[in-house]
């Protein structure tokens, strides 16, 4: 794996939890997820890379999928959070809060407030 800087790696590791979080309260289809993610600046560099990610989340059984008819056009694949996806999301949320505070702590050392 070639070095690509910290930011892409951080994004890579965290974007999947943003997907899980978007599914916390409702099922969504792929385009909808991509749309929500790209609406926030800095989250997604190329939209297409969300699809391999969704595929992996499904294989790891953090999300489940079902096909549903859409009002317009062909049926869509809907994603839904599974029980273990819910668990992974909860664990990450706690860990992330601690991690974020820790990083903030070090970044703020010696910096005028």
């Amino acid at each position: 794996m070639e070095p690509r800087g910290l930011a892409p790696q951080l994004r890579r590791g965290t974007v999947e939890y943003c997907v899980l979080a978007l599914l916390r309260d409702q099922e969504r289809y792929g385009f909808e997820l991509v749309h929500e993610l790209s609406a926030v600046d800095g989250m997604v560099t190329s939209e297409g890379t969300i699809y391999p990610l969704l595929s992996r989340l499904r294989r790891e059984e953090l999300v489940s999928t079902s096909w549903r008819e859409s009002e317009t056009g062909p049926p869509r694949r809907y994603y839904r959070l599974t029980r273990s996806g819910q668990r992974a999301l909860d664990e990450f949320s706690d860990e992330w809060a601690r991690f974020r505070d820790a990083v903030d702590h070090f970044l703020s050392i010696g910096r005028p407030r």
């Binding site: 190329s46 890379t49 699809y51 992996r56 489940s64």
Partner: protein, 225 residues
């Protein structure tokens, strides 16, 4: 900038064929899933743009990223991610295997094959229960829409158990008493003009539904306007 609709289709087709070619590096089920996903994305994304505006169509494709880049990401996603493993760089068996046991993503899995076998004849092999297992498999699969599942369930409840029962009870049994010569019949019969078509429909419908379910499970959403 304007362009004919066919040029838009050409841009999209070009993109999809590049994606398909690049995706040969992936295991077949992941490849189908990825290409289907991108296709579905394009359907939705292009529904919102002016088809005559080449710049807008290109922008949709640009935002997706180069097909090769997406596939490279998929290959990398097969490896453990920064968050997915606690170990160093060692690949973990759970994420590296090329074809995991759950292949719900595309085509006919074991679940789907069992369902299309059990729905018509499960009830005959193991009365009622066999069919019921078929229904459970049908409804727990992600390859069929609710409409498919309703059709699969109601044509016919019990599968061939129903037409068989119909055939059995519809037959009129007549016996004649040799001593008296009186003929007595039990059961009931339908006139042939009604009975023959009804029997044909009863026997052919489950076959048609099996064919339909297989086609639906194997389909991939078609990109198009």
């Amino acid at each position: 900038m304007t362009m004919p609709d066919t040029q838009r289709q050409r841009l999209v087709a070009e993109y999809l064929s590049r994606l398909d070619a690049a995706a040969h590096r992936l295991p077949p089920d992941q490849r189908t899933e990825l290409v289907d996903g991108i296709r579905e994305h394009l359907d939705s994304a292009l529904a919102g743009v002016d088809p005559a505006n080449e710049a807008q169509v290109r922008a949709v494709l640009d935002r997706l990223g180069a097909p090769e880049e997406i596939v490279a990401d998929a290959v990398e996603d097969g490896r453990p991610s920064w968050s997915g493993s606690t170990g160093g760089g060692a690949p973990s068996w759970s994420t590296v295997g090329s074809a995991p046991a759950t292949q719900a993503g595309s085509g006919l899995g074991v679940r789907e094959i069992l369902a299309v076998i059990l729905l018509p004849i499960g009830g005959v092999i193991l009365p009622v229960l066999g069919w019921f297992i078929g229904v459970v498999l049908l409804w727990t699969s992600d390859r069929w829409t609710t409409r498919d599942k309703i059709i699969g369930t109601f044509v016919w409840p019990g599968g061939y158990l129903l037409p068989l029962a119909f055939g059995l009870f519809a037959g009129q049994v007549c016996t004649s008493d040799p001593s008296t010569g009186v003929e007595s019949c039990s059961g009931w019969s339908m006139p042939a003009w009604l009975g023959v078509p009804v029997s044909i429909v009863l026997f052919l419908a489950p076959l048609a539904v099996v064919g339909y379910l297989i086609t639906r499970a194997r389909r991939s959403p078609v990109a198009g306007p």
